[in-house]
Symmetry: C2
Subunit: 365 residues, 2 copies
Amino acid sequence: MRVAITESDTQKFTKNTNFTVAEIASRSIIKLLLKSRIQKSEIDGIIVSSNSFEPYLSNIIAEMVGIKPKFSTKVENLCNSGTSGILLAYSLIQSGLCNAVLVTGVDKQDSPGNKLNWDITRGIFDMPVHWASLFASNHFRKYGTTQEDLAFVSLKNHRNANKNPNAIFFEKYFTFDQIIDAQVVAAPLKKFDCCYPCEGASSVLLVSEELAARFEQPIWIIGISQSNLGASFASVNKILDGIVSTKIAARDAFSQSKLTPSDIDIAELHDAFSILEIMAYEDIGFVKKGEGKKMLREHFVYTNTRGGLLGCGHPIGATGIDQTSEITLQLQGLAKQRQVNNLKTGLVHNMAAAGTSTSIIILKN
Amino acid sequence: MRVAITESDTQKFTKNTNFTVAEIASRSIIKLLLKSRIQKSEIDGIIVSSNSFEPYLSNIIAEMVGIKPKFSTKVENLCNSGTSGILLAYSLIQSGLCNAVLVTGVDKQDSPGNKLNWDITRGIFDMPVHWASLFASNHFRKYGTTQEDLAFVSLKNHRNANKNPNAIFFEKYFTFDQIIDAQVVAAPLKKFDCCYPCEGASSVLLVSEELAARFEQPIWIIGISQSNLGASFASVNKILDGIVSTKIAARDAFSQSKLTPSDIDIAELHDAFSILEIMAYEDIGFVKKGEGKKMLREHFVYTNTRGGLLGCGHPIGATGIDQTSEITLQLQGLAKQRQVNNLKTGLVHNMAAAGTSTSIIILKN
């Protein structure tokens, strides 16, 4: 049994509105269903990915959009929630329990997922930027990566976001100089090296091979994996030389898909901080360890065409879904002004909490 | 691919201790693994079912117990969280993504899952007992069910709990007169017609057919289904004549298992309120509509041998797991002083929020 993603919708990422998470998520689902070839009555699974505290959220959303699914649940796995939901939807279909599963991710700007105060191994350095700055310092020292390399990641992703109407930085233009001269947040990371927590929702529809036949351009999940090494920064990252969970999840997903990194045409990478994109190049295997900055100059893989977390903003539970939506749209040729030509395979990289967990999804048209 | 439950552990249900949900859940997992034939390194999935607000809970627990699973997430689906986790674990194994998945449920007495104030269709009647009292009144009026019938459900389940060391009412004896003369909570429901929110954790291990071969008594999941009809009381329960989600989930699970209600030897039923057990008899199909009270007198199916929610207490995220654990132990012949003889098949019935969702699991030894 093959599983496909056929449709997606993203609601514009924004700052705090007065809408509830249930309302934002419902709007995304309604938009997706309006244009769908799948009827509401055929949707037999809803998974809601969110860090919000709302109880029974998936059933509340199901009722709001008028769906009575066989299976419904909320999942929470910090920044890795979205792809956790997609992996579960894949398994519900692959196992034969469901035929069509909606996965919707949603969070508000003040999401509880922004706080890492439960991780006492971080000491007083309990903001996500603190651990990212350690990774960046180590990469600078060990591999000669520079402030300019980081700024270049941010510039690239902001330029992509300028073409994405759903991005919080849509049509907001910054120059290289503005990025590199911005204020330091936690050295060496500056303002535009850090993603912006925001509000938003994104949905994808996963269907069985049988239902996928109704669509002209189903996008197939040919590899899907996750790796969880723990929850606390210090116990997982004893050596700051890359994200180990990314290496493991990528290895497993490539093995499942029978592809190698050189087969990938386009990728969405979890650039919560600019250094993470450079490390992702290396840990996924696009380039050798330490050569991440080289890849920035050689465009053999298109990366973060939607703008990444740096350019789109980061509505925590929605991010992994919007990343997957972008790869789906690109492989379907529906990415409008962001469209890259001649794509066959794409990859999604989504992670949480100092890289303690990573999901990798490999897609093919 | 068949999926089996091989082992379980339940930590004594109790009132509030100073332990965190992560600590309580971890203790349950450690106890399960101590006696297991599955090595920690073989566990490739952890699903934590909880209504608590702790972020990243499944990864925190995984780190505390020393497991680095391929897949990890927290699920929340109110009182139906536990079996939602088991259904997902089943699908992860059935789909080939995982081989051995631990499902752990945990909640504290003051769990946020106790509050239903998000359901504005309940008006000022926002406690769970309010909707149960409506169902009870309707059953009294329509089918002649009586206060004595309800008291008899409570008495039976408390007597069973007296033999269950994990139950909050272990060795706490009440007479029929004490139960029927107790104070009214929401007429016609009295004190012992209502379950007791408490603290506790319960874990089950699901494994692939290949790993199940290591065990002498794997218990096979031969039917597993869920039905979600919405979230709000009034929009789902237009007619108060039974729990519709239970009927649908039971029909689907029986269809999958190729069994009928008359094939079931033992069942754990979601008796959050005594009337719900009588309605479950009817809606699952053990007896015809309106004949629930008859079944109380005719013991053709053993019910709630662990004591039910009425006798065990109700640590929300743990309940569905402990129900499944009880059926597993009974089918394995390991239920000690509660053991029923000559069992072949068992059923778990777990639901949430005025019956807006139900899960049914059918097990076989």
